[in-house]
């Protein structure tokens, strides 16, 4: 196990990068402590796979260093890095039994049969494959095969880090939560550093203690799930995390107060207009908007019933404001007023939060 440091890392697929857009990964410094559970979250094309390939050694970065503890591995080939990987599509040897699949990485390292047997059985118990050890892998369902992949990732005691690349994408939702919670429990048990790469916020937020949110090759925020939810540092984080995402409304600033639709809107902190043609926006999550007797006048456009809550879609001066309303709360019809929870309302300048 190891602490992983990405030190002023940047990568370009262009031979001699000149413009900003040439960089698939813009310069970033990230430190992952030993034994932590981390997620890399972002949409397709945000650079997360490039970053994963740099950590595993498939790509040598254009600039910067990768450190495992204090050892510089930037130039080390993949097999010297001691990393276990679990991919989106389970990589399983179909003709082998479940047992042999799990034993494979240990046999490769030349461990003795007794050590291998003890380890394989221990892991099989943890990933719930004990009853299937003698079965051929080919006969297993998609989640069964993914459990083999997980088991193979966990079976070696000496890995520096286990990396998961969208491991639950092919799994049915009713099984997803089970594998997800198993993975979480395994992390708590083993304490091995895990990095989980996904575009799915639920998976990232429930798995990781700390999430790195990426957008356009850039790290836009590193934070705990609560920080990402309550204090998005960038409108992209507000939009990408949460379902539906954060409401983003154009605003102006007058005397240290944000103004939208002619109404002053109290925010978490007093704000000063940075001036110079900056694009100013208010950000507030649908969870922190409620109907009130006065406030911002809105037109109710649509109500979607999600079961445990309803999503109310409204318009105010052409801007869209969505609210989440609990199952048993009333919803007005036609026109209404809404108010924002001031402590959870922030102002953004050109996308970045104003402090």
């Amino acid at each position: 196990m190891a602490r992983i440091t990405l030190d002023r890392l940047a990568h370009s697929y262009v031979r001699s990068p000149t413009r900003d857009a040439d960089w698939a990964l813009k310069e970033m410094t990230v430190e992952w402590s030993d034994g932590g559970a981390y997620a890399l979250l972002g949409p397709s094309g945000c650079g997360k796979t490039t970053l994963l390939n740099i950590i595993s050694g498939l790509i040598t970065p254009t600039r910067g260093r990768v450190l495992f503890d204090d050892r510089d591995v930037t130039a080390a080939p993949p097999d010297e890095r001691n990393i276990a990987q679990v991919f989106q599509f389970p990589v399983v040897y179909d003709t082998m039994t479940v047992y042999d699949n799990l034993a494979f990485p240990l046999r490769n390292r030349g461990l003795d049969a007794r050590t291998i047997d003890a380890r394989v059985r221990e892991i099989a118990r943890m990933v719930d494959l004990e009853a299937m050890l003698d079965r051929r892998a080919a006969g297993l369902t998609a989640d069964g095969k993914q459990k083999i992949s997980l088991g193979r990732g966990l079976v070696r005691a000496d890995v520096n880090v286990i990396m998961f690349d969208e491991p639950l994408t092919v799994i049915d939702p009713h099984l997803k939560w089970r594998l997800r919670s198993q993975l979480k429990a395994l992390h708590q048990q083993f304490g091995v550093t895990m990095i989980y790469v996904t575009h799915d916020q639920t998976e990232a937020l429930t798995f990781a203690d700390k999430v790195v949110v990426m957008h356009d090759g850039q790290v836009v925020q590193i934070g705990t799930p609560v920080e990402l939810f309550e204090r998005p540092q960038h409108t992209f984080v507000g939009h990408f995390i949460g379902s539906p995402g954060m409401n983003v409304l154009p605003c102006t600033i007058r005397d240290g107060v944000a103004v939208f639709a002619g109404q002053p809107v109290p925010t978490a902190r007093p704000v000063a207009d940075p001036g110079g043609g900056t694009r100013l926006e208010l950000g507030v999550r649908p969870e922190y908007v409620r109907f009130a007797d006065d406030g911002i006048p809105v037109q109710i456009v649509k109500v979607n019933d999600a079961g445990r809550y309803r999503v109310v879609d409204t318009r105010a001066e052409g801007a869209r404001i969505q609210l989440l309303v609990q199952e048993d709360q009333p919803i007005p019809e036609g026109t209404a007023h809404v108010r924002f929870d001031a402590a959870r309302t922030q102002v953004y300048a050109d996308g970045w939060v104003l402090n």
Partner: protein, 356 residues
């Protein structure tokens, strides 16, 4: 426009893939097929499309028996989970392809392709090839092809499953609007209960090749006819446990009971099954008369805005889903509260105890 299945059945060798199914689907609003992988959703769609022949039964489209009419003659459009486009054709040609097959005049084709592209925000991409598009744009192109031909029946088989989470959210929001004024019958297959709820319309729940219920989506969700339907329509899974009804109280254990409400009141005393959705079991009492239980925490998942606590109660796995962050630790004995007004009760045959 309507699509009616009359005792439609599909057997392959000794296996029954679809048990005899009778249902009438209507236009205006989505018809959701909800079920896990292998529940029979795709088979049912292929039968509707005419790409598979039923072993028995009839398929009636807009009052006309089409059971023996082959797919190309049915005016049906289908979109699959994998984005299927012609890789060598431009987006324009891809969208135009069904109209060319139908031998429409050139200017009409151009008009309709442009109108559909506008609707799906593909206008700037019309000259590109599918490989130059993002996943979302590729699936939009496939959707455009289904829309452009004005089909009587549109079948969407998990069309958003291969897309990024946020794109899925965006397209899910757009889709019902795209079909709003078309009058065609739209069938949409999904494995996700939340997706079914957000799309609204009607839902048909499927389990192991059998239709378990069909009705308005919100009704099927709130009054599932049986335990199987409740399970299919709950994510995270619905909590279930045996309870004893004695007089006007239901007993979960010797020291946990609550007043019975609703249709169960007038039923005989004895053993029933209670079904409680995870968001009705919360770390703080959601209602004044909520009943306290104590569960041993197995896993706590915190997402920043909500907490999903997996716990064990009388040797059964339970799940609680609540707003806010409730940092329980594994092994803790967690106090949790059941909102008993929201309980569903099922009899020994797993049928919902409902107004009769």
């Amino acid at each position: 426009m309507t699509l009616e299945l009359r005792r439609v059945e599909k057997r392959v060798g000794a296996e029954t893939h679809i048990h005899p199914t009778s249902v009438a689907l209507a236009g205006g609003g989505f018809n959701i097929l909800l079920g896990t992988t292998l529940a029979g959703k795709t088979t049912l769609m292929l039968l509707m499309a005419g790409l598979e022949k039923p072993t028995a039964g009839e398929i009636v489209l807009n009052g006309r028996d089409v059971t023996r009419v082959p797919a190309p003659k049915r005016n049906v459009a289908m979109v699959h989970q994998q984005f299927i486009n012609y890789p060598n054709m431009t987006v324009f040609e891809n969208i135009a392809s069904p109209l060319r097959v139908a031998r429409l005049p050139r200017d009409q084709i151009r008009d309709r392709v442009h109108r559909t592209a506008e609707l799906l925000r593909l206008t700037p991409m019309l000259d590109r090839k599918p490989a130059e598009l993002s996943g979302g744009q590729q699936q939009r192109t496939a959707l455009a092809r289904a829309l452009v031909k004005d089909a009587d029946l549109v079948l969407l088989d998990e069309p958003l499953a291969n897309l990024d989470f946020k794109l899925r959210e965006e397209l899910r929001d757009e889709l019902p609007r795209l079909f709003e004024d078309r009058g065609c019958t739209v069938v949409y297959a999904t494995t996700e209960p939340t997706e079914a709820l957000l799309l609204g319309g009607h839902t048909l729940t499927l389990h192991e090749g059998r239709m378990t219920q069909f009705g308005e989506t919100a009704t099927v969700y709130r009054r599932p006819r049986d335990l199987t339907t409740a399970r299919v329509f709950s994510d995270p899974p619905i909590n279930t446990a045996p309870v004893i009804k004695r007089g006007d109280r239901a007993w979960l254990a010797d020291d946990v009971s609550w007043p019975v409400t609703g249709p169960l009141l007038s039923r005989a005393d004895g053993e029933y099954i209670v079904g409680i959705r995870p968001h009705h079991v919360t770390p703080t009492p959601g209602a004044p008369d909520a009943v306290r239980i104590e569960g041993r925490v197995l896993v706590a998942e915190l997402s920043g805005s909500e907490s999903i606590i997996h716990f064990s109660l009388y040797d059964r796995p339970w799940v609680s889903q609540s707003h806010g962050v409730h940092p329980f630790r594994v092994g803790d004995l967690a106090p949790l509260y059941i909102d008993t007004r929201q309980c569903l009760y099922f009899d020994r045959d797993e049928q919902l105890v409902d107004e009769s």
